[in-house]
Symmetry: C2
Subunit: 157 residues, 2 copies
DNA sequence: TTCTTGGTTCTGCAATAACAGAACTAAAGA
DNA sequence: TCTTTAGTTCTGTTATTGCAGAACCAAGAA
């Protein structure tokens, strides 16, 4: 008996499209498609075999992709009483945090650029000025973006 | 005669550090190190062979990395009268734009998520609500972040 | 005309990534 | 006890990436 779930042509196309986007954001092809499936499928909680058979990927690819995404907190799973299977779903609640993290990533650049400026010879005045301007842009964004998140959260309540 | 430029131990270490960061941001190892060199070297305008010999990379790697970064507008070059060589330097002025672009990248996610929400079954109410909340966060950020850039620019004048 | 300079392009290799398929395993039924 | 379920882990293959080294090339210089 097949565990394939019903999926329309349109949904499949959208999954492919999402796959491309998620690949660009760093997921493997298989993981990207799983994310896509969990986003567009009518049933948002799917088992290992439903995912595997619907997307036609191997057990190993499914297992590795799922565990990778669990460890990244991109997906999560629930269980049901008297059922050994896990039901996987995207962890949308965490998406906001992962966007925050993405922004924080640029903070890494900010730190090292400060180090560069400190170590640079003082003789290249124009260059150093441009660099310090760039750094202060980051400083500004770093201060303001968290405020933006807070402001948005405030509008939700 | 060697074209190697003088570089301190400290500068070399910083170049490696920058290399790691730039690799994470999508550059190849060679390109990442060239960016690093152009950022920390006392002389900010270096020739093909100065780059190549200082970093000990092959001609082909140097050529490919430079052309890739030229096409990405991450570096630029100047020439000097009666000198066939090109002098490469990082295009710091463009960095601001590339940060803007980075933020715009997330706009891609925003568009496709709207498409997902439209195609979704209406029956998964909780899920759809979370999704639409996520989308509106993006809408908010997309509106507010350009304003942030403008506000920062205003403080510079 | 040949040589030198400042690169570019081609060929081949080594490392890594992503996956399939098959063997394996731990827990729960039967 | 044996079997099924729900995966995990191992082995091997294929595709891709990043690079070195060498051949190549176009524009002056000699």
């Amino acid at each position: 008996m097949s565990n394939k779930i019903k999926i329309t042509e349109e949904q499949l196309k959208l999954i492919e499209k999402l796959g491309v986007v998620f690949e660009k954001l760093g997921l493997t092809p298989a993981a990207a498609r799983i994310e896509g499936l969990l986003l567009v499928a009518d049933n948002t909680e799917l088992t290992f075999d439903e995912i595997r058979e619907t997307l036609n990927i191997s057990k190993s690819a499914t297992s590795n992709a799922i565990n990778m995404m669990l460890s990244m907190d991109r997906i999560e799973y629930i269980t049901k009483p008297g059922d050994r299977k896990r039901y996987f779903r995207t962890h949308i609640a965490n998406w906001k945090d992962s966007v925050k993290e993405k922004f924080a990533e640029t903070g890494m650049l900010h730190e090292i650029m400060k180090e560069v400026l400190q170590q640079r010879t003082a003789s290249t005045k124009e260059f150093n000025k441009s660099l310090s301007e760039f750094i202060s842009l980051f400083e500004y964004l770093r201060k303001e973006i968290p405020l933006l998140f807070k402001k948005w959260e405030a509008t939700r309540k």
